[in-house]
Amino acid sequence: MARTLYDKLWDDHLVTTRSDGQSLIYIDRHLLHEVTSPQAFEGLGLAHRRLWRTETNIATADHNVPTTDRELGVQGIEEDIAKQQVLTLQANCERFDVALFDVTDERQGIVHVIGPEQGLTLPGMTIVCGDSHTSTHGAFACLAQGIGTSEVEHVMATQTLAQSKAKNLRIWLEGTLPQGLSTKDVVLKVIDTLTASGGSGYTIEFAGDALASFGMEARMTLCNMAIEAGARAGLVAVDETTIDYLRGRPYSPQGQRWREAVAYWQSLKSDADAVFDREVRVSLSGLEPRVTWGTSPDQSAAISGRVPEANAENRRALAYMGLKGGEPMRTIEIDRIFIGSCTNARIEDLREAARVLANRTISSRVRQAMVVPGSGLVKTAAEAEGLDEVFRAAGFEWRAAGCSMCLGMNPDQLKPGERCASTSNRNFEGRQGQGGRTHLVSPAMAAAAAVAGRLADVREYL
């Protein structure tokens, strides 16, 4: 019977069906960070259990780490409770023998950036992490899902995840993406089409001719935000781009094993006659750069558009955002710029922003603009290309890797009322700092907003 990519991944990892009817799925990779793991390690210890297969686990500190003074290591974390959390991760990794990319390790970074970068993320894997943006890794045709802390402990103890199979949803991306746009604009349009809950209960596969033209990092941006439409996992089939990206990565297979792996990876696509529970078409040809105006990722508009008129559904969001219905998006003034996060902090993202900023400076209206590379290695690579100089010359701050102002667990936060053009993934109330106002945009659009001091159409800056 014809199968979808998700069906194949599920079948290849189905261990058994438990006595209560729940399926157990074998987990190939478990990514850990300091925020959602301590209670799981504690539970494991209290029950005198050990990790089922230690080497499938890899940890890093990303949420709480400061993006300045990195050479101070953990001691650079000012807030005691945040420092305690990172120290707890260190202690747990030592106790349970888990590999850790620690604060001063060059390989440290956002967990969803370092997985693919190291070849720890491979096609055909099942990947979990106590973080909803684990969907990112689905760009490599692996079943990657965010899980809660109880599930983290369950995976540690049993190497399995207990769950029921989701339904199949295919998003057809039709036509070609106009110049100046990125997959951030695409995924905001997809979420606008599906709504913030339209993907609930589904695994989303992104398909269509346009995908072949997207690099792996662009595909990761797509899958990263599948969760913002409610889908726990996003997927893209394997092609030559996938294989080229993984060749020679530190944890990628080598030699004969590489050839065996590639042979299998090439089967990781939906069969031509596979049946999906739901199919949705999104046209790229007429797409414009998109910007969110509300407090849910499905509240976005084209940059040439206007803030919608207030109604019962959006009144609260507009009040929180300090926006009036009918206001042109391009007149919204911006206080701060954030280029970073697991959505848009990879080298291609930084290149796109830097292209807009070359020989330009940020508006005097912008109080602060910062770039937070996704990992220490992204930072090094960007510096080798001179991107840091482009950003600095334009007036940006060049920071060290971490989650930073995507969720403001470290000192990088918006102040009440401040308005930010951000390349992150969530415009929820208070997400970037209590009272802060977030407009989600692509890296190039963030750069254009920095130069204009307001939301701006990047196509005028190319």
């Binding site: 409770i81 959390q85 909803s132």
Partner: protein, 219 residues
């Protein structure tokens, strides 16, 4: 896990859609390495005017009198009524811990986010999905009638109104069974230890590269 069989309790209406877990428990409280201490900070930015820091006592805070849970009539509520897509966003299980520590044992809504639903069933918080019109009717009645209570019977899978009306809901058989008995899920899965081991051996022979060149602490 805390077992759930049936409860009868005061209902509080939260008339908002897409209530994300960032609202349920804001990021600054996730720095705790414990499972407790989150109830005092449930909906912190909505409940209080002052900026919340972990460990603050609610009585010492500036409460927002307009937020529904601060209305005296909803003190001690055990059931939360909400709109679509409750618990969306971040996977933080702290959201479920916060709701339970505050006193809630169930949330009734037309739909829930997937990861939030999983987290509920690991802890003994029952997410009840009812059709939108039923939720809206209950929401109206709840606001109109002080002391409005409902009973939820997981064994019968129904929400029971004092006037005799019954609202049926569906729960996956496995979730229902575990919740009714308060079972330790890891223990349940480890009953299948030998099957996991034999699967692992087959998996290794099919995909040997997943078992080689793996991260280890000394590397």
């Amino acid at each position: 896990m805390q077992a759930f069989t049936s409860i009868t309790g005061l209902v509080a209406p939260l008339e908002r859609a897409n209530v994300d877990t960032d609202q349920i428990i804001p990021k600054q409280f996730l720095k705790s390495i414990k499972r407790t201490g989150f109830g005092a900070h449930l909906f912190d930015a909505w409940r209080f005017f002052d900026a919340g820091i972990l460990g603050m006592v609610p009585e010492a805070r500036r409460a927002n009198p307009d937020f529904v849970l601060n209305e005296p009539r909803y003190a001690g509520a055990r059931i939360l009524l909400a709109n679509d897509n409750f618990g969306c966003g971040s996977s933080r299980e702290h959201a479920v811990w916060a709701l339970m520590e505050y006193g809630f044992r169930s949330v009734i809504a037309p739909s829930f986010a997937d990861i939030f639903t999983s987290n509920c069933f690991k802890n003994g918080l029952l997410p009840v999905v009812l059709p939108q019109p039923s939720v809206e009717a209950l929401m109206r009645e709840c606001k109109r009638s002080p002391g409005f209570s409902l009973s939820i019977d997981l064994d019968a899978c129904e929400v029971q109104h004092a006037d005799g009306r019954r609202f049926q809901f569906q729960v996956k058989a496995s979730d229902r069974q575990r919740l009714l008995q308060g079972l330790d899920e890891i223990g349940l899965s480890l009953e299948h230890e030998s099957e996991i081991k034999s699967f692992e051996a087959r998996h290794k022979s099919r995909f040997p590269w997943l078992f080689e060149n793996q991260p280890c602490r000394s590397k």
